[in-house]
């Protein structure tokens, strides 16, 4: 099938970018990225610069890939990353617009590649349980009800691809941060640091320049792991509790 692609081309972070148009012949069994591979082989052979796009595992789990296809993050198929999106969902003659995630916290590195290290810094701010190697008790000492383990796993499935931010009209990272806060907050092991985690992660999210949540729901719709909006409510509740009623360790002892 013959396709027309309009792709954002930008040489480097500082350079000005523009949309460029290409023709490519694809086959319905290809994945979307394999279709771009074909385009890139053509471009290299004809002495042009291939289109840069992040990708690695190509099985929808590493979270490297992702860009907008016709204005929808990861393209038209629900619950699917672009690497798992197959060309059978398109038809000959389709015209596709490919653009990088757009957010000031995700500056473009090149073409469709953006810098998502803001996500790493959010995790560094508190997306962990302090459990230094070697001091763990036997795994079965901490029973976790199946329903909580399952819900925690639902939230933990986040692959950190950034589609939620890209799709959000406000460029909010609430689904990402909320997923991590819910993943850890639903487990007994996550309780001791729960309040600090909410304060620190929400604080860092804001510092990175992401927008606020408007409860719009675009993020949930494009999330390749179908993470639900309720994780944001969970984050909001933890944050409100932490910032209104919770007393940090120092304050506790000083209160007298």
């Amino acid at each position: 099938m013959q396709l027309t692609l309009h792709i954002w081309r930008q040489k480097s972070a500082g350079a000005r970018g523009k949309m460029a148009t290409y023709q490519v012949d694809a086959n319905e069994h290809m994945s979307f990225l394999e279709m771009l591979d074909v385009l890139n082989e053509q471009l290299i052979s004809s002495g042009q610069d291939p289109v840069a796009f992040d990708h690695d595992c190509r099985e929808g789990i590493c979270g490297s890939c992702g860009f907008m296809i016709n204005g929808i993050a990861h393209g038209p198929q629900r619950g699917t990353t672009v690497c798992q999106l197959h060309m059978r969902h398109f038809k000959a003659g389709d015209e596709l617009w490919l653009e990088p995630w757009r957010a000031s916290a995700f500056p473009v590195v090149k073409d469709l590649v953006v810098n998502r290290s803001a996500f790493d810094r959010i995790i560094q701010a508190g997306g962990f349980i302090t459990a230094p190697t070697g001091n763990a008790v036997d795994g079965n000492t901490i029973p976790v009800a199946k329903k909580y383990a399952d819900r925690s796993m639902d939230a933990a499935a986040c692959i950190g691809c950034g589609a939620c931010v890209a799709a959000c009209p406000n460029a909010s990272a609430s689904l990402f941060t909320g997923a991590k806060i819910s993943h850890l907050g639903l487990l007994p092991q996550g309780q001791p640091e729960r309040m600090e985690r909410a304060l620190n992660m929400v604080g860092q999210t804001q510092e990175e320049g992401f927008g606020n949540c408007g409860n719009i729901g675009e993020c949930e719709a494009v999330c390749p792991k179908s993470i639900r909006l309720e994780v944001i409510a969970g984050m909001n509740l933890d944050y409100l509790k932490a910032s209104v009623v919770w007393r940090p360790a120092g304050e506790e002892s000083g209160a007298g």
């Binding site: 957010a103 927008g211 949540c213 409510a233 969970g234 509740l237 120092g250």
Partner: protein
Amino acid sequence: MATTTVSLQRTARFYDSTIGKKAVMAITGLMLFGFVLIHLLGNLQLFLPLDASGRYPIDIYAEKLQHLGGLLWIARGILLGAVILHIWSSISLARTQMKARPTGYSKKDNAHSSYASRTMWISGPIIACFLIYHLLHFTGGQVHPDFQPGNVYHNVVRGFQQWPAALFYIVGMLLLGGHLEHGFWSLFQSLGVSHPRYTPILKMGAKAFATLIVVGNISMPVSVLLGIVK
């Protein structure tokens, strides 16, 4: 320890956090909901017939409100405060949003979200304009063709007999309906209440509530325009 210091610096404080502002919007929104509902119930007395003393019940109701004196002003103050906080928070959030995505997409589609949720930013300001007009129209009377203080029934009927004014009310109420529909379940989400069993009910409740407000409020200008209320 070093980590603690780092953590504290990262810590967002309630007032400067976007979640805090959303919570303020949610709480003030809830207050305004209550107001809108009571306001509607009061206004629907427009449809009640003249009572034994030959007065319109809505005029009596207005008079009673006026007699509350100080309490009325306290209520007005609280409402004004809520409106200001609601608007102030939304402006501040809108600025964050604009900074968060300085460059837009050349092509953007919506995967799922409702029209109302995406248009809160525009329905809000229009409703604010409507509110000012509404106050000048029926409370102060500055933009009313024939304003008689205390004579509510007369003011409403005369006001709505001018079709552009009535039309503006109808449009304003439709926007308010969308705003309320999204706002009603959204405020629970902002305050951290979400449950797979109850959130769908909240969303349905939001639709029903918004419909009630819109239909109830629109019924007045429509009735006047159609000559049912004269």
